[in-house]
Point group: C2
Chain length 298, copies 2
Amino acid sequence: MAARRKSPKSDATKRAREPLSSLLRVPSGPVRMDQFDPRATPGYPGKGKQDAQRHVDALAPELSDLQERLYADGRSNPDSVAKVLVVLQGMDTSGKGGVIRHAIGLVDPQGVQLKAFKAPTAEELQHHYLWRIEQALPGRGMIGIFDRSHYEDVLVVRVDSLVPESVWSQRYDELNEFEAKLAANGTTIVKCMLNVSFDEQKRRLAERLADPTKYWKYNPGDLDSRSKWPAYMEAYEVLLERCNTEVAPWYVIPADRKWYRNWAVAELLREKLAGLDISWPAAEFDVSAEVGRLTAMP
Amino acid sequence: MAARRKSPKSDATKRAREPLSSLLRVPSGPVRMDQFDPRATPGYPGKGKQDAQRHVDALAPELSDLQERLYADGRSNPDSVAKVLVVLQGMDTSGKGGVIRHAIGLVDPQGVQLKAFKAPTAEELQHHYLWRIEQALPGRGMIGIFDRSHYEDVLVVRVDSLVPESVWSQRYDELNEFEAKLAANGTTIVKCMLNVSFDEQKRRLAERLADPTKYWKYNPGDLDSRSKWPAYMEAYEVLLERCNTEVAPWYVIPADRKWYRNWAVAELLREKLAGLDISWPAAEFDVSAEVGRLTAMP
C-alpha cells in the first residue's frame, strides 16, 4: 500500500480538550430534556458568534479531505464497506435545514446523499415503516443525511397516536436491531437531536411570520406541534434513552445559537470521519505501465 | 403579493460589460473546436488565479439567494414550474467533478439534485436511451446537475460505434425535441462543454499517475479515449452545431485554468437564475391569524 498517509490534525482538534463526541453524547440511563441546556456551547474553541465563521472555515479543509478519502474508498477499494449516516431530528425551527446548508454544505456534494422524510405517501404507508428508510440508505463511500428519519415513527406517530401504543412501543427495540445491522454492514451512524428551546422556537416562528422572504418556511401545522411540546419532549426522552446504543449513539446538539449548532455538527462529522482512519485506495492498475503508455502518446 | 423584491446585483455583474451567457455561447453555424481557446478567460472581472477565490466568494451570496428563491417557489408556490438543468460534458480531466465541488457546492445542497451518468446498466440498456435521463430530471424548485448526460449517446456511442450510424445520426433531432419539451415544462437548460486542451489533459493525467492520493481518479480507459481525441472533437463539433437551440443553448467553458472554469460556471448559473426573476412566494395562510395564534401561546 503506497498510499497510506495520516490525515492532518486541524487547529480545532488541538485546542479542544475532549472530543465533541464525548461532550455531546447522551449519557446512558433515564433522560430528561431539561438536563440539556439549549444555549450551551460545549467544546467550542473560540469566543462566540464573532469568530464562529473562522472556526468553521478552519475545520473545513480537513473535513473535505476526510470526506474525499471516504468517497475514494467507496469508488476504488474493492473491499470497501464504509459509509456514514447522519440522522437529524429536532422540533420545527431547530435548524435541520440550516445544518445541511452550513455544515453538510462544506463537503463535496458528490459524496452526499440527502433525504428529507415528510409524512409518508400512500405508497409508503402500504409498506413497513422502515421500507422507505432502507431505500434511502447511503451506499459505500457516501455520507447519507436524513432530515427527519425513522425516529418520526416514535415521535409524531406516538404523540398523535397514529398507530396503537402496542405497535409503537415495540419500535424502540426494532430500531436498535435495524441500526445494529446497518453498523455491522459498515455504516457509521451519527444521530443528532437539535435541541431548540420552547422560547427560542417562539422567537423563530415569529420571525418567519414577520418576514415575507420566510413565509415559505412557515406552516400552520408548526403551531399544532408546538401546542404538544410536552408530549414531544417526553417522546424524545424515551427514544434518547432507549435507542442510544454504542453503534448508533445519540448526540444532543444545543441549537439556540445557530453558529454553535452548525459548527458542532461539522466538528462531530469531522471527528467521526477521522475515526474511520481511511487510507487512499491503492491503484487498481499497473502505475508504471500506465505512465509508459501516457508518455508514449503525443 | 407582499413579497416581491428584486435580487441584489453582485459586484461581478456591475463590472462585466457583457453577460457571460453571451460571451461563452456557441455561435450558430458550423463549429470547429479550434475556434475555442481552452486557456481564455472571457468576462473574468479580476486579474487571474490570485483573485479568483475572492471573485467566487463575491458572487456566492447572490447565487445562494437566487437558489433559495427558486427552491421556495418550488415548495410554496402552487403555480410554480421553474427548475434548472445544468448539463456538464467534457473529456476526462476537464473538471466536471471540480465544477460540482467548487461551483455547485456554493449553493444549498437541499436544492441540488445530482446525477452522474456512467456506462448504462443492463437494465438501462433494455430501455430507450432517454429513459434513465427522464428519471433523473429535476423537480420544480430544484437545480439538476448532470455529470455526463444524454449527450454521451452521440459521443462515446458515435465514436465507438455502439449503435449503427443510422441510429445515432437521428438522435440530434430527437435530443432537440426532448429538450424543447423540457423547456416548455419550465426547465431552464444550461449545457456546458468543459473545454480542456489535449496538452493540458496529458499534464493532468500524468499528475494523477504521480500522486497516490489521485490514483482513484485514474482509469486506464482514459488513455483509450485520449487515443481517439480527434473523433471525440468531431463528435463535439457536430453536437455543438446541431443541438445548440435557443431553449437549450450550449456554452463552451475554457477549462485549462481551473479557477476560471469554476468561476465561469458559477457566474453562468447566477445569470440564469437571475434571469428567472423569481419572487418569494406569497403566504399560503392568513398571516395575521397565525401571528394571533402564536402570540396567544405560552
